[in-house]
């Protein structure tokens, strides 16, 4: 079965700086892959390159059957990127934002409504301007915009950052749900405990290159085993929750 993401010695430039200096990565359908590495290793650029936003100038790069070196644009419709920036309009309400981005990518209105429900923003908060929401609520709104697209490939850049425990659990549940429905997930995270138990395997990134991976991908291309999901533990008493 063809891999969803196939990168060989991929090099991507940000201006003149080679943010990706030789990435080897294969991700099969239905996998959840965690990208790990120090700051500046190129995790964000790798995610954006897979989304077709950063051009790949050397090597092979095929995502969802589209060759990124030929034209990175066709792949964009099929991916969902959740980055550091929210991509939301502060003056518009949650519903306005999700509806706009949903209709922009020709999503089904039912999907748009369902997306709002899935992140729990279809109640009182629906008609609140995004500028007045907390960071976690804004992240959930962005997530709703992603859900409405129903992308085949999820690209998540530190999705747990700034979220409280419940929301993190919600997010993990949504990721699991998406994967069961056939999506593939690539996420970069510093939340190692949570992310490692969520992911099927881990890929180390350093200096824009990939180190040999830990945890083998299934050789015969069959669907990977479901990730071991730790039941959400009670928070240790000394950890303070950031509101």
């Amino acid at each position: 079965m063809e891999p969803v993401v196939h990168l060989r010695a991929a090099v991507a430039l940000l201006g003149r700086f080679p943010a990706l200096a030789g990435i080897d990565l294969d991700v099969a359908r239905g996998e959840i892959v965690l990208l790990r590495g120090p700051n500046g290793a190129g995790k964000t650029t790798l995610l954006r390159a897979c989304a077709g936003l950063v051009p790949v100038v050397r090597g092979e790069a095929v995502v969802l059957g589209h060759d990124l070196r030929v034209d990175p644009r066709p792949v964009r419709r099929n991916v969902g990127l959740l980055g550091h920036a929210t991509g939301l309009f502060d003056d518009l309400t949650v519903a306005d934002n999700v509806r706009f981005w949903g209709r922009a990518c020709h999503a089904d209105p039912a999907d748009i409504a369902a997306a709002l429900a899935l992140v729990g923003l279809d109640g009182r908060l629906r008609d609140v301007a995004v500028g007045r929401l907390s960071a976690g609520q804004r992240r959930r709104t962005s997530l709703a915009c992603l859900l409405a697209r129903r992308p085949a490939l999820w690209l998540l850049d530190e999705p747990h950052a700034g979220l409280d425990q419940d929301t993190r659990d919600q997010l993990d549940a949504l990721i699991g749900r998406a994967v069961r429905q056939g999506a593939t997930v690539l996420l970069a995270s510093h939340e190692l405990d949570r992310a490692e138990s969520l992911a099927h395997r881990v890929v180390e990134l350093a200096g824009g290159t990939t180190a040999p991976t830990r945890g083998a991908a299934p050789a015969d291309g069959s669907a990977p085993p479901a990730p071991t999901h730790r039941a959400p533990a009670a928070p240790p008493p000394e950890v303070s929750h950031v509101a």
């Binding site: 077709g52 964009r76 939301l88």
Partner: protein
């Protein structure tokens, strides 16, 4: 493309409505400009009335700078450019939508300024047909040109200062044409004004097409 344009225009107008910056700040500013002109020139009504067309369109241009700046700012919000590129919206459609939204805002401001000029400068309306057509053509020209140049400076730290420098010389012909057309209309000689109207319409078409073609390149390349 038209569907995308309608979607984007709706979004831009909704942002303007919700934030109320246009009504609370841009409109009073443009009226203020009219009043400042009266301070600068002797409010001998004869002078103001004679110069009304030119002063009117100058005030419109200043207000347009603000409106275009606001329109460009909507898409500069963190992450919106990426999201636009990912969304699959036709860039030409995005351009047309944004320009249309700016045009609507400008029309509202022009109406307000028109009332201002009639009241403050004692202008008597005449040649309504020419006024309306020239006004529409000039508005579209300003909106299209402005949206294109707004995209050229979008996202830059120096956007606020660079936009006027780039845009105003390009809009000088619009100022010339619109003023001449209005003068002809108000003087009761519309025949003189219609050729200028043609110039305005030509500019509107030129920049609408140029913007639609260039917007995609600017969205990707910046």
């Amino acid at each position: 493309m038209w569907r995308d344009a309608a979607l984007v225009a709706g979004r831009d107008l909704r942002v303007e409505l919700r934030s109320r910056v246009t009504t609370n700040q841009v409109a009073p500013f443009s009226l203020l400009v009219l009043i400042l002109f009266a301070f600068a020139l002797d409010p001998d009504r004869q002078l103001l009335e004679r110069l009304a067309s030119g002063l009117y369109w100058t005030a419109v241009l200043f207000a347009a700078l603000l409106a275009i700046s606001r329109s460009a700012a909507i898409d500069e919000t963190d992450g919106v450019r990426d999201a636009l590129r990912l969304s699959g919206l036709d860039p030409a459609g995005v351009f047309v939508g944004k320009a249309a939204a700016v045009a609507v805002v400008l029309l509202a401001l022009e109406l307000l300024l028109g009332v201002g000029v009639v009241v403050l400068y004692g202008v008597e309306l005449a040649g309504a047909g020419l006024v309306v057509v020239a006004g529409l053509a000039a508005t579209v020209a300003v909106a299209a040109t402005g949206t294109l140049y707004g995209a050229l400076v979008s996202g830059l730290r120096v956007r606020e200062t660079l936009l006027p420098l780039l845009l105003l010389p390009v809009l000088a012909p619009v100022l010339i044409g619109a003023t001449r057309a209005f003068e002809a209309a108000l003087a009761g000689v519309p025949a003189d004004g219609w050729p200028w109207c043609g110039l305005l319409a030509g500019l509107a078409v030129l920049y609408a097409v140029a913007g639609a073609l260039a917007y995609g390149t600017l969205l990707e390349g910046s």
